[in-house]
């Protein structure tokens, strides 16, 4: 049984990067190198405390702060470690990459110093808001935190301030805000119904709501689920709500693209799972709808990725496809399905961050990002090309890399649940993914280099390479030894599944004749 402990760790994980970001905005313009140091410290501090939360979760602990407003169970712990870990690597990666781009890119909007200050300040706030979303136990504040992460990343998407970046930034903020507002409707419905059963402010707490979700009227469940899936699904990049994603992920600076594709869409998926899965035991069609949407998303994303010539845009569409696999796992709805979904969420975060880092390294060295303009880079950039191949094989689900393990788990879960149609489409889509990456890797790293950049091309700086190598090593290590991540994933998937069926006493206690359609018994999902 999980034991609850009041702790400052969940609060500190959110506060430290937020404080670092605020300090960067205040003093960053005046003390040049200070902003980079603060950003590294802020992200490292968040990672250190996240690991503390992860350790507590592995021991079966649930840490709470601010009277249960922040709550770190095993599911939150998994996401928090992932967000802060990739956030830290993105910060390290940014050190040379962003200075190079700001100095070489001819940014005229404000001074170079001002631009870098804004970049690191928003980066810290972006990481902080994502961590906040993963730790919020308040259903309304969950929406606020998810929307705050959109706000914090809006100017980062438009960072280069040219026509393409501005268009991407406008679409990003507008479409995501509209989409997420739907989830607020869903959160309000959940709260209003839950508060009526639980009474008072308990109706705001996700940890309390899940124990009474089975007593919600069926029609409320349908409406709330629809709003939540559209809202958080938009932010997660679930098709057909994904059109903002390729623009934003492609036009943002590469470390931000890695964060957007690597973790931000996973945070939105977490919010979706945290809220919608509470209805699984009482209303199985919600899971079936999620499964269908997941399969649709994986196919659409890969077909679009196949047609891209822009390297970052291709990676962005691939993220749409892979988030479809994650949703497929949650849609299967069984414990193995949820486990596989979380496993793929973890693996795709690592693999896609690695691929974006490698793409950034190519852009850093050549200044080009059109696949048709690139070629023959493997000899001049051996580490980058190796890391790109690792990421590509991992995301495609080829052994011995981590993506293979999670896709295998997904297909086994689908087969055991009898969802053969989803398994067959999933395997077919994996082959398309492999084709997408094989085509891109061949064009970028084999053949003859373009004479326009060939003489000057060399491997990216140490900080860029280091971030890639760490992620590549993790992709390989998890692929070769998947048991290493079994304990945290098992604990996290148990959180999604431990939705208590209301006992007759609970129903009698909370039953209100005026509220029709209370469900007295919950049916197993499948």
């Amino acid at each position: 049984m999980p034991f609850e402990t009041a702790s400052v760790l969940p609060a500190l994980v959110v506060i430290i990067p937020a404080a670092a970001g605020t300090l960067i905005f205040i003093v960053g313009r005046f003390v040049g190198g200070f902003r980079e140091a603060l950003a590294v410290l802020g992200s490292a501090g968040a990672l250190a405390f996240s690991l503390g939360i992860g350790q507590a979760a592995l021991r079966g602990g649930v840490l709470t702060s601010f009277r249960d407003q922040f709550r770190a169970d095993a599911l939150s712990a998994l996401l928090v470690v992932l967000v802060s870990g990739i956030g830290f690597l993105a910060t390290i990666y940014s050190l040379r990459y962003m200075r190079h781009h700001v100095q070489e890119g001819g940014l005229t909007h404000t001074t170079t110093s001002g631009r870098l200050t804004a970049y690191y300040g928003w980066l810290m706030l972006f990481i902080s808001t994502m961590l906040w979303a993963c730790l919020s136990n308040n259903v309304i504040m969950l929406y606020v935190a998810v929307e705050a992460s959109t706000i914090a990343s809006g100017l980062l998407v438009a960072f280069y301030w040219d026509k393409r970046a501005l268009e991407a930034g406008y679409k990003y903020l507008m479409l995501l805000t509209v989409g997420i507002t739907f989830s607020l409707f869903g959160c309000v419905l959940v709260y209003a119904t839950g508060a009526n059963i639980l009474g008072g402010s308990k109706g705001l707490l996700l940890s309390e709501l899940k124990s009474v979700a089975a007593m919600f009227p069926k029609t409320t469940v349908i409406l709330a689920s629809a709003f939540l899936i559209v809202g958080f699904g938009t932010k997660a990049g679930v098709a057909p709500f994904h059109p903002w994603l390729p623009d934003a992920h492609a036009e943002a600076p590469t470390p931000i693209s890695a964060l957007l594709s690597g973790v931000m869409i996973k945070v939105a998926m977490y919010a979706l799972v945290r809220t919608v899965s509470m209805f699984y035991p009482s209303f199985a069609p919600v899971a079936m709808f999620a499964l269908a949407l997941g399969v649709f998303t994986m196919v659409i994303g890969d077909l679009m990725a196949l047609a891209q010539d822009d390297l970052k845009r291709m990676l962005a569409y691939s993220s749409v496809s892979q988030i479809g696999y994650v949703l497929m796992g949650f849609g299967i709805g069984t414990q193995l399905g949820v486990y596989a979904g979380l496993f793929h969420l973890l693996n795709h975060a690592l693999g896609k961050a690695l691929l974006f880092f490698a793409a950034g390294s190519v852009i850093y060295a050549t200044g080009a990002r059109r696949i048709s303009q690139l070629g023959g880079l493997s000899r001049r950039m051996p580490v980058t090309s190796f890391c790109f191949f690792v990421g590509a094989l991992a995301v495609s689900g080829i052994p011995p890399f981590n993506g293979f393990q999670s896709k295998l788990a997904l297909f086994v879960a689908g087969a055991r649940a009898g969802d053969w149609w989803a398994v067959i489409i999933g395997i077919g889509t994996s082959l398309i993914t492999l084709l997408v990456f094989a085509k891109a890797a061949k064009a970028i790293f084999w053949g003859q280099p373009d004479s326009a950049y060939a003489p000057t091309v060399r491997e990216a700086p140490l900080t860029v390479v280091a971030a890639m190598v760490i992620l590549a090593a993790l992709c390989l290590a998890i692929g070769v030894y998947p048991k290493s991540v079994y304990p945290p994933l098992k604990a996290a998937s148990a959180v999604v599944q431990t939705i208590k069926t209301p006992t007759p006493e609970m129903v009698a206690k909370h039953h209100n004749p005026a509220r029709a359609q209370l469900r007295s018994a919950a049916e197993p999902c499948r």
Partner: protein
């Protein structure tokens, strides 16, 4: 006895329909801003009316006054300096008026037929909530309508504000006892989103020469 005056709430709520329509249909962006300002004041009035249920709503009313009725209109006013006329919309006034009437009728019918789906408050509050929800959904859909059919980027931001107002009205109607921390968070994120969107739109005007969203065609799938 709830302490709420239903006729006052209904009047304020229904006036939101008119201010929404004016904000969407005014071709002069500053006139649209003024219409939005009036709507923000109506929201503050509604929150004050509901404050008899929950004192936390007094804080939200104060926050809404600062964010919705002062800051957002001020940002919009500044953003429209020198470019007050809206880019020609896709759908004109006549069709919009017909759509509004149809929308309101549909929402009224829907919320009254399915009130039990949403309304979890009891007694007098329930009947007030039914009207409010019809208005809230209409304002919400009008916001979406503005975003979809207006070419001017600033007008789409006004549409976004309307959409948010619709959700906030539903929130206060469905859950009048909600805590102030949640309310402050919701109110604050709106104003920051609007500020950042208008900041980016300023950049769009600088680079593209206008705020016509039809010109945003650099990125294709």
């Amino acid at each position: 006895m709830t302490g709420i005056r239903p006729e006052l709430v209904h009047t304020l709520s229904l006036l939101m329909i008119f201010t929404s329509f004016a904000a969407v249909e005014a071709r002069n962006l500053r006139h649209a801003t003024v219409a939005y300002l009036f709507q923000a004041l109506l929201i503050c009035g509604l929150l004050l009316a509901y404050a008899t249920q929950n004192e936390a709503l007094l804080y939200w009313a104060a926050t809404a006054l600062v964010t919705k009725a002062i800051l957002v209109p001020w940002f919009l006013w500044r953003a429209t300096a020198g470019a007050e006329q809206e880019e020609k919309p896709l759908i004109g006034f006549g069709i919009s008026a017909v759509i509004l009437i149809a929308l309101l009728a549909a929402m009224y019918k829907f919320t009254h037929a399915h009130a039990a789906l949403f309304v979890n408050v009891g007694g007098e509050l329930a009947s007030i909530a039914e009207i409010n929800l019809a208005v809230a959904f209409t304002v919400f859909v009008l916001g979406v309508y503005a975003i979809l059919t207006r070419r001017d980027a600033i007008k789409t931001v006004i549409g976004l504000c309307l959409l948010e107002n619709g959700v906030h009205l539903s929130l206060v109607s469905l859950a009048p006892t909600i805590r102030e921390t949640a309310l402050a968070g919701i109110a604050t994120e709106v104003v920051v989103t609007v500020y950042l969107l208008l900041y980016i739109i300023g950049g769009i005007r600088e680079k593209f020469g206008s705020t016509d969203t039809f010109q945003l065609s650099e990125l294709h799938w």
